[in-house]
Symmetry: C2
Subunit: 304 residues, 2 copies
């Protein structure tokens, strides 16, 4: 059997993370032609290494059709802005102000899809994962930090700034007055439920805590509050929660569902929020691949 002609339209994705960059070549989860992980160093070293890998892929008989860059934020995503494509005020040393979109656009004469890592992952889940066929949904990542990508009526929600719901303040669990670990807000969502917060509070990496550690109740309560906020604001049909902390803890899903249901207390009378809340609140369909596939999805969106 010969390979269908359509398979020659390949795409390149770059997931730019705080410690590593995943570069991916292909057309989707079942057609990854190459994937390479590079360490995130200073901006020029890192971007040059990525560009050389992409040039190598591009030199093949099947050059890629578009590039997708899914990056840690904050990012300026407004095309009409004079600082479009740049990283904003990040605490990550040397990276604030770096012109990511400009770098890739100057170096490669193909369309560029550019967004945050979580918006990319949300689009990948819509294209190939647990949000397939949905028009309104959210992808939440709980790792070192907490990020939220939101899709509304089939498009990423941007407003005048991409969502930063990791830094929303939430109602605390009764009797819990730990001050939180966020350097801006103390006990915001990220300051209570991120991997960094769990480690700051317990003194142990989230990965090494037993499933029955009481800290997971704080995490579930806090994420239940995030779901409560999302359900009553953007009204997603489904909420996917992934990232390093959640991917390893499937036991948290029933807890989060229970905390959300208790918090909402029967207020929304819609089928999506049924008694079981499964699959309303669930894991991403692509698991840990949602990030790099998100970069690929951003590349493919440029041609849609």
């Amino acid at each position: 059997m010969t390979r269908p002609a359509v398979a020659s339209a390949r795409f390149a994705g770059v997931e730019l993370g705080g410690t590593k960059c995943v570069c991916i070549l292909g057309t989707g989860p079942d057609d990854v032609r190459d994937q390479q992980v590079l360490p995130t160093r200073d901006p020029s070293t890192t971007l040059e290494a990525i560009a050389q890998l992409l040039e190598c892929w591009n030199a093949s008989p099947e050059p890629f059709k578009a590039i997708g860059v899914a990056s840690f934020g904050p990012l300026d995503l407004h095309r009409e802005s004079p600082t479009y494509g740049r990283i904003g005020n990040t605490p990550k040393e040397l990276w604030a102000g770096v012109d990511l979109a400009g770098f890739f656009s100057r170096r490669f004469a193909v369309p560029l899809g550019f967004s945050t890592d979580v918006i990319g992952a949300a689009l990948a889940e819509g294209r190939w994962g647990a949000a397939h066929g949905l028009t309104d949904y959210a992808y939440i990542t709980v790792g070192t930090g907490i990020g939220v990508g939101i899709v509304v009526a089939g498009k990423p929600l941007l407003g005048c700034h991409h969502p930063e719901l990791g830094h929303v303040r939430v109602a605390r669990a009764a009797g819990d007055d730990w001050p939180g670990s966020c350097r801006f807000h103390g006990d915001c969502l990220e300051g209570l439920a991120s991997g960094a917060a769990i480690e700051a509070r317990s003194g142990v990496s989230a990965a090494h805590l037993p499933d029955d550690d009481p800290i997971w109740h704080t995490v579930a309560h806090t994420l239940g509050q995030l779901v409560h906020i999302l359900a009553l604001s953007v009204g997603p049909q489904r909420l996917l929660i992934g990232g390093g902390v959640l991917n390893a803890r499937p036991h948290l899903f029933p807890l989060i569902r229970r905390c959300f249901a208790a918090s909402l207390n029967g207020y929304l009378d819609i089928p999506e929020v049924s008694c079981e809340l499964d699959p309303y609140i669930g894991p991403p369909g692509l698991g840990t691949r949602a990030g790099p596939l998100g970069a690929l999805a951003l590349a493919m969106e440029t041609g849609d």
Copy 2:
């Protein structure tokens, strides 16, 4: 000078409220041909009285081109739903399940615009008021309850349910542990900062409290939390806060801005959230007219 021909395209609006219905005929705030207030009684009496007024308007040489209905909620706003156009599970006696859109569509052979009162008011503010020219903004009403209408990329945000942000739980002000007045959630936004909550807490109607009553700090803190949530989720370019409680208390705006700024703590580095936060957080441009003009805006949207 003869009246321009375009003025003959008149529209009818119905703002359906808990205690009264405002019916309006015209094309905008500077061209209101008639406005009538009817009491809200049981559904059939109320809707029949409205329909008779509209028929009377329609019998003139200039029949209206479309009807807009802006109603209290919850409402089913999804056209493909079998219960589209109906009021949901409202505590307002006899009104749950009432088919508002069906009633007006059967009675009048013109296009019908149908949405919540706050979404209507938001669209009116975008068309004629303080959100004119903006694509992303929120209209918040603080009256007996709290409602939020959100416009994203020029369109009302719906998701699988219209926003119900009055019932989101918020971080409490330090030292404040009043349990709140919401029958679902206790100390949610509405349970802390609505007119009903103010009266439940103080024993006095909000209208009769002095401007320096300490309760206004709770209200400002709570609304500052709502702004914090909106700023980090839908990213509005501006937030307008109106309704019976706020319209009478302009002194709350500097307090709300201060509470929001303290809560956000410099996190968002965008021009909209500048140091002054004026006009980022401000009153509606149409004041108390945003509600009925919202119904008119919904009628006019049907032809856009």
